[in-house]
């Protein structure tokens, strides 16, 4: 097990390296001059008025590869992502302040997705081709098409028109009022979670159908075991592995979704931070959030890989 973890961690190095190159080159290499854009839009802080000062603040006065190594070196050696062009705050400090909220929203959405997807997917499979199955499948194929930002808009607009209810705009931090905070995040998590559940539901159904035809399931039936035991103990556990893999693959979609939900419901997470930074063209923050998101997705996929061992005793790490 330990050898497997170490090998898996080593395999992360090239992926993380390429990810950092992508982040670096997206902001610095594409044609279109950041500085021109900042000056043209008057998007500059008072103390960094001239072109040279801006270039120095962004570290653009050095050759490209030196810029990359300085940037990477700062991150790896000192955990230094640079500092915001506007506020006297380090990028990493700001991210660490915002990250927990996004993480909480994402986790809640994921829980909603699983709570919806797995039971409905299992039900659809064991009652294949009944009206319940059709209903579940129609729902999932519909949820794949509904944009979450539209669902969010509808949920904001119509209760306000009909009953005069609108969600609290002022954000309640978790440590101030845990219950109020959970309630506030539950609506965006519900919307994001149901959108996300569609793919997992289809996957759960497909895998359950496959597993239910296996010999060991027939044996379990033949032994006279109850439906519950056969379905949950024998079938579901084996069907879950591809579903868990899918959760890792959906991590980018989930994080993209939190950006939209944070915007609609004014939740001060990392997504809103990115949008604010983009509107002020605060490149150190943009680069920092971009990189953190990529690293987060890579780590989620690592956790997913490692979790196979817990789900499936057949998987032995060598």
């Amino acid at each position: 097990m330990r050898a497997y973890v170490i090998r898996r961690l080593l395999a992360l190095i090239p992926t993380l390296f390429f990810a950092s190159v992508i982040v670096f080159s997206t902001v610095r290499l594409i044609p279109g001059d950041i500085i021109d854009m900042m000056i043209a839009q008057n998007d500059i802080a008072a103390d960094k008025t001239s072109r040279e000062q801006l270039e120095q603040a962004l570290g653009l006065d050095q050759p490209m590869y030196i810029q990359y190594f300085r940037w990477m070196g700062g991150i790896l050696l000192r955990g230094d992502f640079g500092s915001s062009l506007w506020q006297e705050q380090s990028v990493i400090g700001e991210i660490m302040e915002r990250l927990p909220t996004t993480f909480q929203l994402g986790t809640m959405a994921l829980l909603v997705a699983l709570v919806v997807a797995i039971p409905v997917g299992v039900w659809s499979a064991i009652r294949q081709d009944t009206w319940g199955d059709y209903l579940g499948r129609s729902f999932s194929i519909l949820m794949l098409a509904v944009p979450s930002f539209w669902l969010g808009t509808i949920v904001m607009v119509f209760p306000a028109i009909w009953w005069g209810i609108s969600p609290e705009v002022k954000f309640v931090p978790f440590w101030q009022d845990p219950v109020g905070n959970m309630l506030q995040l539950s609506l965006p998590a519900l919307i994001l979670g149901t959108s996300l559940s569609a793919i997992s539901m289809r996957m759960t159904r497909t895998m359950m159908l496959e597993v239910l035809r296996q010999d060991y399931v027939r044996t379990a039936w033949a032994k006279g075991m109850g439906e519950r035991t056969v379905v949950v103990r024998h079938a579901l556990r084996n069907a879950l592995i591809p579903v868990v893999t899918l959760i890792g693959l959906q991590a980018p979609i989930l994080i993209g979704g939190t950006v939209i939900m944070e915007q609609i419901f004014v939740i001060p997470g990392m997504g809103l931070m990115l949008l604010e930074a983009v509107s002020r063209r605060d490149y150190p923050i943009i680069t920092g959030v971009f990189l953190i998101v990529g690293v987060a997705v890579v780590l989620i996929n690592l956790l997913v890989d490692l979790s196979y061992g817990l789900l499936d005793p057949k998987v032995r790490y060598r």
């Binding site: 390429f18 992508i22 098409a145 944009p147 930002f149 539209w150 950006v259 939209i260 983009v278 890579v298």
Partner: protein, 299 residues
């Protein structure tokens, strides 16, 4: 599998009706939901292509007297806060979605096919390195890549098409690569190799035609995915800038404050988006089942 359907399966034998016609006959007979999707897709295309003819009013024709009018015989979908006809804007929005969807999906498919065929066929070190880059690329959400790129390039249709094409192209290369790897070991490829056929010739004459079904399915589903992500980007205010009537843009910005007085503003663009993406998804599913049995049940 009936006898009439067989010619479409083996592309070598010419079908009496032509491959397209026999595909549509199978679609309607075996996959009614997919056929409905095809109809939705077709209607969407017609709306987009003929928006200039179909729209009763101009794209940005402002009429202050008719501000925030509910749906009526004169304005089928009502008007917005500037008195612009919503139906006309929805139709022009379809035009933008058709252009962006097709342009970005075409670019994405070309990129996927080039990366997928070259790495899948050649294998080895090139494949290994390219796959790590694809891994890294796929760990960034499309929406976030788009937001970052737009922050450097400024908003605009060309940027959106280019970035969506590139992003979906790199992600989709996995699917094509998988198909190529399974074709690579077929007997006809080995015999072409032993006859001394050049690599480009094998790729174009033997590999490409045999991975065509997943390419067609990939293209179709990509059109829907592009439309969905583009609408999210426009919703956040980073897509094609207003007053261009993108469906996502109509749900955001200043329009949002008026939705509480005029809820029809919130309904039409979202319903259109949902309907079109739903149509493309069910069509894509049906095509996958009919054209490419290996991909059945996967996404």
């Amino acid at each position: 599998m009936s006898a009439t359907a067989a010619p479409a399966e083996t592309s070598a034998a010419p079908s009496p009706r032509g491959p397209m016609a026999s595909f549509f006959i199978r679609l309607v007979r075996d996959k009614p939901l997919g056929a409905i999707g095809a109809v939705i897709f077709l209607l969407f295309l017609i709306c987009g292509v003929f928006a200039d003819v179909l729209a009763p009013y101009g794209i940005n024709q402002i009429s202050p007297v008719n501000r925030l009018k509910p749906p009526s015989a004169r304005f089928w979908l009502g008007t917005d806060h500037l008195g612009r006809d919503m139906l006309s804007r929805i139709l022009y929005g379809a035009q933008l979605s058709v252009i962006i969807g097709f342009a970005a999906a075409t670019l994405a498919t070309i990129i996927s096919v080039v990366i997928g065929i070259v790495t899948g066929y050649l294998g080895g070190k090139v494949d290994l390195i390219v796959q790590r880059v694809v891994d890294a690329w796929m760990s960034f959400p499309e929406l976030i890549i788009l937001i970052v790129v737009v922050s450097v390039l400024g908003p605009g249709m060309i940027q959106v098409i280019f970035v969506l094409g590139l992003t979906f192209g790199i992600g989709g290369s996995r699917i094509i690569r998988g198909a190529v790897v399974s074709v690579r070991e077929q007997m006809y490829v080995h015999s072409a190799q032993s006859m001394g056929a050049s690599t480009p010739r094998i790729l174009l004459q033997h590999i490409l035609p045999n991975v065509l079904p997943p390419i067609i399915v990939l293209f179709t589903t990509r059109v829907g995915a592009v439309i969905l992500v583009e609408s999210g980007l426009s919703f956040l205010g980073f897509g094609v800038p207003p007053p261009a009537p993108t469906w996502g843009g109509m749900l955001s910005g200043t329009g949002r404050t008026y939705m509480y007085m005029a809820p029809w503003l919130a309904l039409a663009p979202g319903l259109c988006l949902t309907l079109v993406v739903y149509g493309i998804n069910v069509l894509g599913d049906a095509m996958r089942d009919l054209l490419d049995p290996r991909m059945r049940g996967s996404r």
